[in-house]
């Protein structure tokens, strides 16, 4: 009996997340019922649409890459206590920077273009995250509002460039020309945009997860989020750690953008991200910022949203129901944590 209680305590976070997800699936079932569709049928279509055959699987994986990177970007920031809401703008800047490299230096060999493109994308996005970070940490500005404003700025600016000086010829408005072949990540299949960039993403994700879970900075970040005052008392350089959290968060958003340009579309276009980072935000919050949990959640989302297309076809339930379900999961998780903290506090009235 005590053995069970101990196990529950130790894994309370994971259990809370899984429980919330299960509850949200039930809520989803309720929504399906409202549409007159049997929940299992709807979920079934989702699964078959996403994993039914190799083509579907490939499409699902290709969807997963930007989502996973976006989720990690948010997780890195939030885990360190920095509310980076500006990842979307950072992604756009990163995407455009990568495209810019290709469009401006078409003569360079691939060996230089590839790393340069990635570096430009990551660097631009990291800078765009650093600005609100330093302003909020050193000057006390509200990081949420700042990042939101910078979001819109970045999106409009890159859109302006893409429809103005860098507008592509022979292509509908809102996109640049294609980047040189030398800097493209090869597509792995004919039916989707899954490309070799996935390996870069995998390596990056693995490294970041390692850092977050097993290193001293990872520990410091976690403490900064759990109790900043305690971190300061204990000797952690809170400002330095949190700036790095922002930088890395931006970097991952930039990587996502770069891979979208260099791997998926081979050009920059307006609206290149249909809100990947917003989804990433929900997923990161759902798993309490755990990097591996985030990857699992990204996979789950990719399955659900990829399969939702077939589901919408077969049952008329719109694909947006996926966001609703996952949003509900986040609400359950956050309510769960709030309640459990209150309960813990009640046990000791000091």
């Amino acid at each position: 009996m005590r053995w069970i209680a101990e196990r529950v305590q130790r894994h309370r976070e994971s259990l809370m997340v899984l429980g919330s997800f299960a509850a949200s699936l039930l809520v989803g079932g309720g929504i399906f019922a409202l549409y007159g569709v049997h929940p299992l049928e709807a979920y079934g279509h989702m699964l078959s649409g996403a994993l039914g055959d190799t083509d579907a699987l490939v499409a699902t994986l290709s969807r997963m890459v930007p989502i996973a990177l976006a989720t990690l970007s948010i997780a890195v920031a939030f885990n360190g206590g920095m509310w980076n809401i500006g990842a979307e703008g950072q992604l756009y800047l990163g995407a455009f920077a990568a495209a810019w490299v290709g469009l401006t230096l078409p003569g360079l060999p691939g060996m230089m273009l590839l790393p340069l493109g990635l570096a430009a994308g990551i660097g631009a996005a990291a800078l765009w995250a650093w600005i609100p970070g330093i302003l909020s940490l050193k000057r006390g500005l509200n990081v949420v509002v700042l990042t939101i404003m910078l979001n819109s700025l970045a999106i409009y600016f890159t859109s302006a460039l893409a429809t103005g000086p860098y507008a592509g010829t022979r292509v509908s408005s809102g996109a640049t020309d294609r980047i040189p072949e030398a800097m493209r990540f090869m597509h792995l299949s004919n039916f989707s945009t899954l490309n070799t960039g996935i390996f870069v993403a995998l390596v990056a994700v693995a490294c970041m997860a390692l850092v977050m879970l097993c290193t001293v900075p990872g520990y410091d970040w976690r403490i900064c989020r759990l109790n900043t005052r305690f971190a300061r008392y204990g000797g952690v350089d809170v400002v330095r750690r949190q700036i790095w959290a922002m930088l890395l968060s931006g970097a991952f958003a930039g990587l996502a953008g770069s891979l979208l340009v260099m791997g998926d579309h081979y050009r920059f276009r307006v609206g290149i991200s249909p809100g990947y980072t917003w989804t990433g935000m929900i997923l990161a919050m759902m798993v309490a910022y755990h990097p591996l949990g985030g990857m699992a959640a990204a996979f789950v989302y990719a399955v659900m949203s990829s399969g939702a297309l077939e589901m919408e076809l077969m049952t008329d339930v719109p694909v947006e129901v996926v966001e609703i379900i996952l949003g509900t999961a986040v609400l359950f998780v956050t309510a769960g944590f709030a309640l459990s903290n209150r309960w813990a506090n009640r046990l000791r009235e000091d």
């Binding site: 403490i223 008392y233 952690v236 813990a344 000791r348």
Partner: protein, 515 residues
């Protein structure tokens, strides 16, 4: 007329019993003081009466009618009001607005500001609490702000007024004004309950005194029938057996930590610590005694690097330390157990391992090239839990779920394992059960016998007396007296507790004796 009675009141916080089976009677129209050391339970008892805490056992009676009190508003209905130590005022609102908040006079939809002003002016005149009703509260000095709090109670027609340590924040002149006001209340037939631990003031104003010690009522005596010395003894305990502290083994008097003319600002631009000096020696426990709020927190923060030292210098082993950050101070051999476990000493939402690692994560034992050595962390945590007797189901429980005593053991274990040369420890046994207290004291004494230096900041005189080789009494940011253990005798204890209210003096000993 009011006749107030408390029967068998008991209040527990977790496993810590703050008030034990206290029965008390208070006569109407008197000034009744409830005295005791910090942590004796006086505030808690009165907060039960005022509806801020729900006692586990016990009942309150007014003129033999049982009171049903579940909130301060209920207490107010019976005419019971409380003026707290920390004022609850809205800074930018006026005096009148603050007083009437919650029972505002209205004219139709709107707030009848002029009526509020008028009524407050009348009230203040009637009771001699002169204060300008339209002034914003933040512009008032502390003494007048307290009057606003008092007016709140009078506005709601309180007939029993409880004052929780009212003189702690007042200057001597303001104290005299307050006492005049209290005497005025007595003349009007109101009942005043006065919580304090400063005997001098209590003896000057009260008709009756009740002494609490460690949650229990020791006795209730009329003013005329008790001497200050007897009172002091009742507060501290019949046998003030000072444990004989063995001479520190490696005591060649080497100075470990040296504070020279330290001055530190508080959060509002004033000086929290002024010109403070002390030399902490090897194998010594230096106790800093005094009521909280006299600059101790700011001093601690400054010594640990969380607050700037504006003037003066800090030396550890001869090396200047005042610009070092907490991490560097740890490296140099200093450790700090803060008074607020939950806010500063721990991350309550994190598990025990996470909390125990703090301060060690950069050490080669626990991290290699940036990677945490999980195994080392795990065994270290297990070792501390065991060695310091932290009762927890597993190292992965949330640290916030532990009891106060266990949390303190956790923090203590973490800091002591650093093997510091100098340990600064603040309010170590607040909210800790008796068994925990003696364990903590044992640890401190062990450290002392190993030749370390300990700076003990505590508002519990009993604790200070039990452990310190030397005692510095801190009032308003300065040392009013610095005594060695030999000078602390039974007689001196009484004198110490009658210590002055803010007049700083060099060689404070004679000053303290004059009273």
């Amino acid at each position: 007329m009011t006749y107030l009675r408390m029967e068998r009141v008991t209040k527990r916080f977790g496993s810590f019993v703050a008030v034990k089976d206290v029965s008390l009677e208070i006569a109407p129209g008197t000034i009744h003081a409830v005295v005791g050391e910090n942590g004796a339970g006086k505030s808690t008892l009165m907060k039960c009466l005022y509806g801020m805490h729900a006692p586990e056992k016990g009942a309150f009676y007014l003129a033999d009618r049982q009171l049903l009190i579940r909130s301060p508003r209920d207490a107010m209905k019976y005419g019971i009001g409380m003026v707290h130590q920390h004022f609850m005022l809205v800074p930018s609102a006026s005096v009148a607005e603050n007083v009437v908040l919650g029972d505002e006079p209205r004219r139709g939809w709107g707030f009848d500001g002029s009526r509020a002003s008028r009524e407050i002016r009348e009230l203040s005149r009637k009771f001699g609490l002169e204060v300008e009703p339209d002034m914003p509260v933040h512009a008032l000095p502390v003494g007048l702000q307290q009057r606003v709090e008092i007016l709140k109670l009078l506005y709601r027609k309180a007939s029993i007024l409880i004052f929780d340590e009212p003189t702690a924040v007042l200057s001597p002149g303001e104290v005299d004004s307050l006492f005049a006001i209290l005497r005025g209340f007595r003349k009007e037939g109101k009942t005043v309950i006065f919580i304090a631990h400063n005997l001098e003031e209590v003896l000057a104003i009260s008709d009756t005194l009740s002494v609490l010690r460690q949650g229990e009522l020791i006795d209730t005596v009329p003013r005329g029938e008790v001497t200050p010395k007897e009172l002091a003894q009742m507060m501290v305990g019949r046998e003030i057996a000072l444990p004989v502290l063995e001479e520190a083994s490696s005591g060649d008097g080497k100075t470990l930590l040296s504070l020279n003319n330290l001055s530190v600002r508080d959060d509002w631009g004033g000086w929290a610590v002024q010109d403070l000096s002390l030399d902490l020696q090897e194998g010594e426990i230096f106790g800093i005694a005094g009521v909280t709020g006299n600059g101790q927190s700011e001093l601690e923060e400054a010594l640990w690097g969380l607050r700037q030292i504006e003037k003066g210098s800090l030396l550890l082993d001869g090396e200047p330390l005042q610009s070092a950050n907490p991490r560097e101070r740890r490296k140099k051999g200093m450790a700090y157990i803060p008074e607020d476990r939950l806010k500063t000493g721990l991350a309550p939402l994190g598990d025990l391992e996470d909390n125990l690692l703090m301060g060690y994560q950069y050490a080669p034992d626990f991290s290699r090239r940036g990677f945490l050595r999980r195994g080392a962390v795990r065994s270290f945590a297990a070792r501390i839990l065991q060695r310091y007797g932290v009762a927890a189901a597993s190292p992965r429980v949330q640290s916030g779920t532990l009891s106060g005593g266990n949390m303190q053991r956790l923090v203590m274990g973490r800091e002591l394992e650093q093997n510091p040369k100098v340990l600064m420890v603040s309010q170590p046994t607040r909210g800790v059960d008796v068994g925990g207290i003696s364990a903590i004291h044992d640890h401190l004494l062990r450290l002392r016998s190993q030749g370390r230096g300990i700076l003990l900041i505590s508002s519990s005189l009993e604790e200070i007396l039990a452990l310190s080789d030397r005692v510095g009494v801190m009032v308003k940011g300065r040392f009013v007296a610095v005594l060695s253990r030999r000078e602390i005798s039974k007689e001196r204890i009484g004198a110490l507790m009658l210590q002055g209210r803010g007049e700083s003096a060099e060689g404070g000993t004679s000053h303290a004796m004059d009273r």
